[in-house]
Symmetry: C3
Subunit: 273 residues, 3 copies
């Protein structure tokens, strides 16, 4: 059994190592894989997007523990979510919702089997005290029903949805990756609705970049858009940082439009249907 | 058997991966867990504190290798320390001392079985050449007595101790974590001596923050103190960085005092006993 | 079987975790070791140097996957390189060349067994879609000949070579590590050609530092040169950063010369051969 870990804990401290110690003390044979611990502090949306982007590549035997938990110690519920393609463990603050939907959610339970928790239970580190032991016991074969009662729902997360118009899609940057690539809210499926030939992508108010097949289709230093590894439209600068060179970040508007559309729009929007 | 690794090597280079290669070549079945490699360069005290904070969460079968080693290549001894709850391997410069005390120290040995070392033995990377192979052989079942002779002592580490007065404890910040939380030298046990009701915490010369139960007990952006996951008093800003917002760092004085004490102190210290 | 991973993916995203998911889905029993994911973006030379520095410490059963791949999606070949001391997997852009030479290259093959790839095959993330599944199938026992046809060559990488003169060697900084140590192009073997007694090292235009045996041979804060853990001449500042304090970086010239040579050179180069 694999347990993956995702958090905003960073790697300067021993917090991640401590969670692994708790897990391995209970379930010594489990395989541990770090998804990332570089989620910006308390950034539930980024954590949720990264989690959703990763889960599909793991077997359905996998238990994914995700901890971005600004409400730790408050009344927010600790959850286990059983899906068709794996199990999710983490706080009920929206973090698990996009992944749960993508994975085929089956049931949601509140973790309340307190005798499994690390004692004394802290009010600041449930990754260690609640989620790690819950995941470890699931890995050992404990049924989710032994962790706590069913809940009707888990807290949703509002993610930016692209708006499709005639010959264009309006979206925004949802993640800036390590390379400075701008992952947008516009999926390849939405892109297909307007067709991808003769398409340009406008970032923010000014930059117009071509939609191409791969980074190598433009010259080094030139901007481009591709359907990237998230299966979303992604804006990049070849061998450079689009975030820096296009001065963009999470929330920057991104418009995908057909070249014809551009001409009409330059024509003072005459004939816009 | 688990081997944990803690160092100041960072993750930009292949140093940590190389140590793992050396270990796995000798002991292919061992489990490896990174505690952290983000100890600030040559910062033995931070390394020692992080190591001590983590070891209690691992089984007593675990071998902890810690390398923050500014004296590498000099006469400082390479050590194996056997304790009631695991084995420590690393340089004799104070790094292992706090963990060894917390774990119930049994015996200290100088590693001098040179035929086990990676050859040619470097004078700059004993993590790879001395500590990794020593730990790997211990994991395979070699007895500590086969690594070298008993030593009477290991080098101590001077850690800041809080001073308890009437209705107050004076300590300092000993670690700033990834979130900017300020971990102090004041443990929950010391705190209990003055009682925790009506308690406030003063950071540096100016900031007075309430001692609460969890981050969620104050408004977002507000400062607070809690007994944190280290089981020490910790100063935080909810969803923010206390280090930045209170302009504090390692060594900043922290005073915990009862509210009554505050009033007396405001009253020009009249009645101070 | 061990699979190591080296990349420029950083650790902020889930890219590395995703590669591990792909590998473990195919080969659940494989051991995974990160060499580093901190190669500067698109820096093939640094990636190649770090890879070469690490491979010798792993058993010859190991499969090393390296992905620094600015040409992803273009015509550059995906490779498997079989050597006497392990297998290399990665793009044909020079990244694998220095390690392949050091490991005793036997054969080079183009990976083109498309039914093994993650589908739909992206044009931006072959680490996930091509290299991870290829390595996983090799780990399961697939022969390299089943991945694709032999190639005559792999793309070479031009690395800076030191120039040996009378009583001196001229090289340059090839890597700055996490500590700010300056790893140079001058190996211990080359150094032996001029002898190491009475030797000084000049960094850039101004700084002359002594060649010593270990960091501890100089006072804290003082600069020094040693034969470091790469088995190359390395310039450091004891308990400090040579990169910062000597204002040096990759490409900075470094001259090793005998003390006699220095005197001659001070003597307006009279007698220079």
């Amino acid at each position: 059994v694999i347990i993956t870990l995702l958090s905003d804990f960073g790697t300067r401290d021993a917090y991640v190592g401590i969670m692994k110690g708790v897990i391995l003390k209970i379930a010594p044979a489990v395989r541990l894989v770090d998804l990332t611990h570089g989620v910006p502090p308390q950034d539930v949306v980024t954590g949720a997007l990264l989690l959703r982007s990763a889960v599909r590549y793991f077997s359905s035997e996998t238990i994914h523990v995700a901890v971005v938990d600004p409400g730790v110690g408050s009344a927010r519920d600790p959850l286990v979510v059983v899906t068709e393609s794996g199990i999710l463990v983490g706080p009920d603050n929206g973090l698990l919702h996009p992944a749960a939907s993508a994975m085929g959610r089956r049931e949601v339970r509140r973790i309340e089997r307190e005798e499994l928790f690390v004692q004394p239970l802290s009010r600041t580190f449930h990754g260690r005290d609640v989620f790690a032991p819950a995941a470890a016991h699931l890995a050992l074969g404990m049924g989710p029903e032994d962790l706590g009662p069913l809940l009707a729902e888990l807290q949703p997360l509002e993610l930016p949805e692209p708006r499709v118009g005639a010959g264009e899609v309006a979206g925004e940057v949802i993640h800036v990756d390590h390379f400075g690539n701008l992952v947008t809210s516009i999926s390849s499926a939405v892109l297909a609705e307007i067709g991808t030939s003769e398409t340009v992508v406008v970032v923010g108010t000014g930059h117009e970049v071509p939609l191409v097949g791969s980074y190598a289709d433009v010259a080094p230093g030139a901007p481009l858009a591709v359907v990237g590894s998230w299966d979303q439209v992604e804006v990049a600068v070849r061998n450079g940082s689009a975030a820096r060179e296009l001065d963009a970040g999470v929330g920057t508007p991104v418009l995908v439009r057909t070249r014809g559309k551009v001409m009409r729009s330059q024509d003072e929007e005459i004939g816009r249907d």
